[in-house]
């Protein structure tokens, strides 16, 4: 399981990096899907099968499909690749790389202080549902109101 965790984690990091440097937008999207799926595997290995499968259904299966749908409608040609290439000059990476390196240093520092023998507890569907409709029911209701507002707004905009 530990090997699987590191493997999925490595794929997630590499494919996310590829999303940023890829100039072909469809390929970038494919890498993003790969990244989300490997995060789902990480969730599964950490003992959260429900979160893993939701990650695959909601992010990789629904939201990314809509992204791809929009890309299909936009009719992006060769010129966007050249534009992307222009934006990806080496000097653009300097400042973000420094900041990310500082963050990584802090993260490594924190991880180094943690104990390494993590005990994996499996959190099944029942436990997640009991929490969602028990202590966190208010958050669920608020989220549903937010979604309803989005739905009404989308309906209104589409009517015009």
């Amino acid at each position: 399981m530990t090997t699987l965790f590191y493997l999925a984690g490595a794929i997630a990091v590499i494919s996310t990096f590829a999303v940023i440097v890829q100039t072909n937008i469809v390929h970038a999207l494919l890498y993003l899907i790969l990244s989300l799926l490997s995060v789902a595997v990480v969730f599964y290995v950490l003992g959260a099968p429900f979160a893993a499968v939701l990650e695959a259904i909601v992010y990789a299966g629904a939201i990314m499909v809509l992204f791809l749908f929009v890309i299909m409608m936009l009719n992006l040609g060769q010129h966007t690749r050249e534009q992307e290439r222009g934006w990806l000059a080496a000097r653009v990476f300097v400042a973000p790389a420094i900041m990310a390196a500082i963050l990584l240093g802090q993260l490594l520092n924190v991880i180094g202080q943690l104990s390494h023998d993590v005990e994996v507890t499996r959190v099944g569907v029942f436990e997640v549902s009991a929490l969602l409709f028990g202590p966190y029911v208010l958050a669920v209701e608020l989220a549903s109101i937010l979604l309803l507002a989005g739905l009404v707004a989308a309906y209104h905009l589409a009517k015009k």
Binding site: V26, I33, P49, F50, G61, L66, L68, F69, V125
Partner: protein, 317 residues
């Protein structure tokens, strides 16, 4: 060597049988369509056309495997592989018999929904990477259709999940052994799942993404050889998958009187649904694209939500 859940022999046999059945369906479907449309169908090769599938396979393997120079090569090659992969992965959680299956998973139903939603990429990427206007139109239709019907497919299953109290397909079958088959309390859920299943595997009458009279062949216009063959066999694999899911979720899976072994009951029930899907193809004309969409969102969605609500109320009472 005995068959048990998750052993290498079982997994190999399931893969082999499922793919062979899907390939055989190409011939079976053409013969049955011929029967229902009062014509002969392919009956020249072998005994009553039984070797037609071999002839088809030889033809498809020896055709030129062509990638158009204007296509996006990577996505063009990946697209047909995606549909085969996700559907074969879905078979991993299907319980064929008490001792036959790949994995006994607590998230079986959700896993199948996840794989079904990933299957949409196959047709979308196939159409988009072809760089062909008919393929793009087909891919757009496919994307909208699959994303829409996924929603009702998921909701229609929740009644069964609520009644059995589990996402595990084996426990769903076990729950039907104690009570009745879920087709009786969940008849509306069954009908919605059946319609959504046809739409998800985009077969006639819902083959709007590839409607050959309107948009050439839709998303696989530019495909030839075995890449086209993978789309083709993928469609039949989807048909087998939907039929076996209906059997498991609504018709008691492998359950049946003891004079036949469980796997035979499973195969018989699934076979009936496969034949029913072929009959649908022979009998019903294709709806218009907007009719399909409004039928889904304005009729099936409210119906599936009401079905879930009523099921919940009855369980609580």
């Amino acid at each position: 060597m005995s068959l048990e859940v998750g052993s290498g022999l079982t997994i190999g046999l399931i893969l082999l049988v499922v793919i062979v059945v899907a390939a055989l369906l190409i011939t079976v479907e053409r013969r049955l369509l011929g029967f229902w449309q009062e014509r002969l169908g392919p009956n020249r090769v072998g005994w009553f056309g039984s070797l037609q599938v071999v002839a088809d396979m030889i033809k498809i393997f020896t055709k030129e495997d062509w990638v158009p120079p204007f296509a996006d090569k990577v996505s063009f090659v990946v697209a047909p592989a995606i549909i085969m992969t996700v559907i074969l992965l879905s078979f991993a959680v299907v319980p064929f018999a008490p001792n036959i299956g790949v994995v006994d998973s607590n998230i079986g139903v959700l896993f199948i929904l996840a794989m079904a939603s990933l299957g949409a990429y196959s047709v979308m990427l196939g159409g988009l990477s072809s760089d062909n206007k008919y393929a793009l139109l087909g891919a757009l239709r496919a994307a909208a259709q699959m994303v829409s019907y996924e929603v009702f497919m998921g909701i229609s299953l929740l009644g069964v999940v609520a009644l059995s109290g589990s996402f595990n397909l084996r426990e769903i079958v076990a729950a039907q052994e104690e009570g009745m088959w879920f087709v009786i309390p969940q008849f509306i859920g069954f009908v919605i799942f059946l319609i959504a299943g046809v739409a998800e595997s985009h077969r006639l009458p819902f083959d709007i993404p590839e409607a050959e009279q309107e948009i050439c062949a839709g998303y696989h216009t530019e495909y030839s050889g075995m890449k086209f063959g993978m789309f083709f066999v993928g469609e039949y694999l989807g048909l087998v998958l939907v039929s076996s899911l209906i059997t498991v979720l609504f018709f008691g899976g492998w359950l049946g009187p003891a004079f036949l072994p469980p796997i035979v009951w499973f195969a018989l029930k699934s076979g009936v649904f496969i034949a029913f899907f072929i009959l649908l193809r022979a009998a019903i004309p294709r709806p218009r694209y907007d009719q399909l969409m409004s039928y889904g969102w304005l009729f099936l969605l409210p119906l599936s939500l009401i079905n879930l609500l009523v099921t919940g109320v009855i369980i609580l009472l």
